[in-house]
Amino acid sequence: MEKERVLSIRDLAISFKTSNGIVNAIRGVRLDLFRGETIAIVGESGSGKSVTVKAIMGILSGNGFVNDGSIIFNYTDENGEKVSQDLLKLSNREMQHKICGKHIAMVFQDPMTSLNPTMTIGKQIMEGMMYHYKVSKAEAYKKAVELLEEVGITDPEKRMKNYPHQLSGGMRQRVVIAIALACDPDILICDEPTTALDVTIQAKILELIKEIQAKKNISVIYITHDLGVVAKVADYVAVMYAGKIIEKGSVDEIFYDPRHPYTWGLLSSMPDVNTNEEVLYTIPGTPPNLLNKVEGDAFAVRNEYALNIDFRLEPPMFNVGGKHRVSSWLLHEDAPKVEMPLTLRHRIDNMLKEDE
């Protein structure tokens, strides 16, 4: 059966005008999202993960502008007609009226700042439904109570009258998820949904999102820098570096057969609970400043495996089988064979063994 493509981003390029000059934050991103699947975008701060999803939602900050590319969103409108729309061509007003909150919803990092402190949570959940679907207050109330129950809040009717400050951090994030789900979106974007939460609550929230996703068959985009979270939730992974996707593939391909040196570094620098290494691996150097023009491969200066060509020419995406795409000259047929570091090899072998 052909999978239904919900979102396809092509050659997206975004820049920001700052007082220091123009920052090319996104430099050609290509990404596909299918119905019911989860894609996780990983990368350091400043790699462009958040900017990418903000472009999808049409909430780029005022100094940002899209240079190139398209974001095609396929959905079924109220009349049951299939629509294929380039989100970048819509005006702000149209975006807000038709797409945001209704078809694409977002869960932000900090639940305290994304909730309105002066409104009861019940009102905040009902707001979206009443705006987008023009349902009556009574109907919206009923659905809001159901939603609260669905996200695991006990005694939902009583909680409807609570204000955000009366809830704990985990509960607040559950409310934010309930708000996001209120209009039955096709895509749920989670921007570091658990970074501000405790580990125990993090696990519960992730399991909740997974459960709801399976039940409603929605697609989820995760943004995170925690690879443990990625392992838990994602079907596909896209690794971003300096505004480009440098490696993408299924979660198995990325975790058990990484090809890009940056992905090696990311995987190695993660603390491993099962081993007793003395020193954590760190990727040398710092991410490039995107104010400057990037020549060749942006990662080359931090890459101990860098080839001469890396400093001159930007590598294309090489297809290494399956869904796995890697942007590194190391995979060119003429490049010297380079194996991943030994410690990482051992770690992956151990991970595979653990599974058996």
């Binding site: 405790d198 125990t200 993090q202 690879l227 979270v229 994602a234 954590l280």
Partner: protein, 312 residues
């Protein structure tokens, strides 16, 4: 093994905050632990468990309700004389969570780092001050030209290095790192943790490392204390806590760490622990000794059922 003299000894520390006449919040409710010179003690627990309060009480940002804190053989829990305050403020330092919020944005890095020296008049002249700052900057992996910049010109990881440098310049015996790496990126976290370990090797400073991320705590700590609702529910060496957790709260914390192994992680479901429904009353429990340095807070019956489960 020879008997080590503890650098810091916390005994039955209680920190209550009065909300109104009838009600007070028991943020920390009777915890005891020791830190030896040159070691790292990790304090973990969820938000609201009293980790930060413990750190702040020790460095005396709060007035402890009861209990004693002994630092280098001196009781620092009561009213402090001027001399004691001076001793405490130089020998015990703190690194804060948010590196942007804890650095004065209107001061140059050199002045931020040297502030402690200035207050305690530890430098004879401008030149000595400068030299000291440069030496510390080098230690934390920054260069001389960084000294004349302002905090906003640095990245998050570099700012945290400045925070560490500021703590180190007083040549302290104990550094309290309150969630020092939580606000940083994963790859930067690793850099800072490595740096802190490296510095410990060179200067033999002890750390009280407060965090909620157990995987990082494991890397840096020699011993770990698990805090929940103001009670120290389990404490022991890192191996003891990770290999043989007894208390159900510790178990749930450990199970909540995400593993970067998709095959395993997809199937795993974190253990839930709810104090209200578990039927455990921390006030009834006493510290039970389990061998090594391993203690757990439990009543006799609870300990029996938990250890049975551990065997299965």
């Amino acid at each position: 093994m020879e008997e080590r003299t503890p650098l810091l000894e916390v005994k039955d520390l209680k920190q209550h905050f009065k909300v109104n006449k009838k009600y007070s919040v028991k943020a920390v409710d009777g915890i005891s632990f020791v830190i030896y010179p040159g070691e790292t003690y990790g304090l973990v627990g969820e938000s609201g468990s009293g980790k930060s309060t413990t750190g702040r009480s020790i460095i005396r940002l709060y007035e402890p309700t009861s209990g004693t804190i002994t630092f280098e053989g001196v009781d620092i829990s009561g009213k402090l004389s001027q001399h004691q305050v001076k001793h405490l403020r130089t020998k015990m330092q703190m690194i804060f969570q948010d590196p942007m919020a804890c650095l004065n944005p209107r001061k140059k890095v050199i002045d931020i780092i040297a502030e402690g020296l200035d207050i305690h008049h530890l430098c004879k002249d401008e030149k000595e001050r400068e030299e000291k700052v440069y030496k510390i900057l080098e230690l934390v992996g920054l260069s001389h030209e960084h000294a004349m910049r302002y905090p906003h010109q640095f990245s998050g990881g570099q700012r945290q290095r400045i925070g560490i440098a500021r703590a180190l310049i007083m040549d302290p015996e104990l550094i309290i790192a309150d969630e020092a790496i939580s606000a940083l990126d994963v790859s930067i976290q690793a850099q800072v943790v490595n740096l802190m370990k490296e510095i410990q090797k060179q200067t033999n400073t002890a750390y009280l490392f407060i965090a909620h991320d157990l995987s990082m705590v494991k890397y840096i700590s020699d011993r770990i204390g698990v805090l929940h609702l103001g009670h120290l529910v389990e404490t022991g060496t890192t191996e003891e806590i990770f290999n043989n957790p007894i208390h159900p709260y510790t178990k749930s914390l450990l199970s909540a760490i995400p593993h970067a192994n998709p095959h395993v992680e997809k199937k795993r479901i974190a253990l839930a622990y709810d104090y209200a429904t578990s039927g455990i009353d921390y006030n009834l429990g006493t510290q039970h000794y389990l061998g090594g340095e391993h203690y757990v807070l439990a009543t006799d019956e609870e300990l029996e059922t938990w250890s049975k489960k551990a065997e299965i």
